[in-house]
């Protein structure tokens, strides 16, 4: 054993042990590590945010891009919520963020997810595998009929669709284990090799 003399390695190792301690139960050690971590990461978010503001809004604004005064004013209006008689003003910036967010969601949904997935399903139905992919897609989509009740002859379709979805979920689950275990191996190597020097 050749224990590390680096302060950084010690801090990292203690933090990792604190996090793992929650697997036994909630305890003061975990609680302290959690609070320090949340404080530091939220601080980092604020620092990054201020840098973004400087580079994307303040510098261009003082450099003559006057239009940027609009989002700055709107941004300030977010704080109107703390003043009861003007709190409704904070809806203005929120509506811009929501509207723009909705626009982005809408265009992305059509392009990559609907049209792309539909064309990918138009395959040559000459093998059993192709049929499984094709029927699996149709049946699982049929599960999502929310206002029509598929009954009688068609009643089995959403049910089979759920079976296909469960098969996919099981597969995705099994396929993810390796990546998660890799992450733990990385931490264990850090603790045993970098920190304890075994």
């Amino acid at each position: 054993m050749n224990i590390s003399s680096s302060v950084g390695v010690w801090v990292g190792a203690i933090a990792a042990l604190g996090i793992y301690s929650v697997l036994v139960k909630d305890n003061p050690f975990y609680r302290l590590v959690e609070h320090i971590f949340v404080g530091a990461s939220a601080g980092i978010a604020i620092v990054t945010g201020i840098q973004t503001f400087k580079s994307q809004a303040w510098s261009p604004l003082t450099g003559g891009q006057w239009l940027l005064i609009i989002p700055i004013l709107l941004g300030v209006l977010l704080y109107a919520r703390y003043v009861p008689q003007y709190s409704y003003l904070n809806r203005l910036p929120l509506s811009l963020m929501m509207g723009a967010g909705a626009g982005v969601a809408m265009r992305g949904a059509v392009e990559s997810q609907i049209v792309g997935q539909l064309t990918a399903t138009m395959i040559k139905l000459d093998t059993l595998d192709a049929w499984i992919i094709f029927l699996g897609t149709l049946l699982s989509l049929s599960y999502f009929f929310l206002t029509y009740k598929l009954e009688g002859g068609a009643g089995w379709a959403p049910k089979l669709g759920r079976y296909f979805m469960m098969a996919a979920f099981g597969a995705a689950f099994g396929n993810t284990v390796m990546g998660r275990v890799s992450a733990a191996i990385g931490r264990f190597q850090f603790i045993f090799l970098d920190w304890l020097g075994m």
Binding site: V24, M178, A184, F192
Partner: protein
């Protein structure tokens, strides 16, 4: 609660402890659980074996933190083989972190009596992706006036020997994809197509399939994919290392989970048989 019910509701902490052991034991001492060498890895190993002793290799460390779990073990396994053959090594990196990984991996060469600056060098990070790699291929010292440790490259004996990419008997890229750094495709163009230097690749697991085409076309002499390939290579060079550790831990962790699932189901079925009216375990 009888035994069968207990087996359906084992305390989570028992599992956590076993899982920690499954990962910790191989980390501290590799077991070398059954890993069969696949043809792709064997081909890569055989290709490197055919290189002339005392030749030169350039290795690109084209990956970022997070992927070193897969790629550092590959790099180390290959370096053992190169070290045994006294092949000189020049390391370059298209990511800043890649240069740091290179430094960690190259330390292996000291075991084989290598001398820094004479037998191997870590040139460090270059920006600009393919364009810079192309310039490097024409004249390495034009891109690097100093190495990663801050030495003047002009003063290093190894750099006097490499005037262009053609002076290398092999190129290798350890690659985690085309985003941000130099991708495998760029290496094929700059090493193989422009200078006819044989290329091998080490990639993360997910990139294996997309790079298979280069092997089929003969533009890539061998490919290592993921931690598993590293474990196989370690078996070939007979140096069990992080790849074996990783695969041992992976195997044990996966088996442990499956064993628990089987245990839970077996207990459930046996207890249902014993009392047909009873319900199963927790949802």
């Amino acid at each position: 609660m009888n035994v069968l019910e207990k087996l359906q509701n084992i305390d989570k902490r028992v599992f956590y402890l076993l899982m920690a052991l499954a990962i910790a034991i191989p980390t501290v001492s590799p077991i070398g659980l059954a890993v069969d060498v696949t043809p792709a890895v064997q081909r890569t190993f055989d290709f490197v074996s055919t290189l002339p002793e005392g030749g030169r290799a350039v290795i690109g460390f084209d990956y970022e933190p997070g992927d070193e779990i897969d790629l550092n073990p590959q790099a180390k396994a290959i370096l053992h083989q190169l070290g045994a053959k006294k092949i000189k090594v020049v390391a370059i990196a298209s990511f800043p972190a890649g240069a740091m990984f290179a430094e960690q991996c190259l330390a292996i060469l000291e075991e084989y009596g290598y001398e820094y600056g004479k037998d191997y060098v870590n040139l460090g990070h270059y920006a600009g992706g393919e364009a810079t790699l192309a310039a490097f291929a024409n004249q390495p010292t034009a891109i690097y006036s100093k190495d990663w440790r801050g030495n003047d490259t002009a003063s290093l004996p190894i750099m006097k020997e490499v005037k262009s990419m053609k002076d290398f008997s092999m190129a290798m890229t350890l690659n985690d994809g085309p985003t941000g750094g130099t991708g495998t495709h760029e290496w094929v163009r700059q090493a193989v197509m422009a200078h006819n230097v044989p290329l091998i690749m080490g990639v993360t697991g997910v990139l294996a399939a997309s790079n298979e085409t280069y092997v089929q076309s003969g533009q890539c002499k061998g490919i290592l994919a993921g931690l598993r390939a590293a474990a196989e290579y370690e078996k070939l060079v007979d140096k069990l290392g992080d790849g074996t550790v990783g695969m041992d831990a992976q195997s044990m962790a996966h088996l442990l989970i499956v064993a628990f699932v089987i245990l839970g189901n077996a207990a459930m079925f046996l207890s249902q048989k014993a009392k047909p009216a009873s319900k199963g375990g927790a949802a």
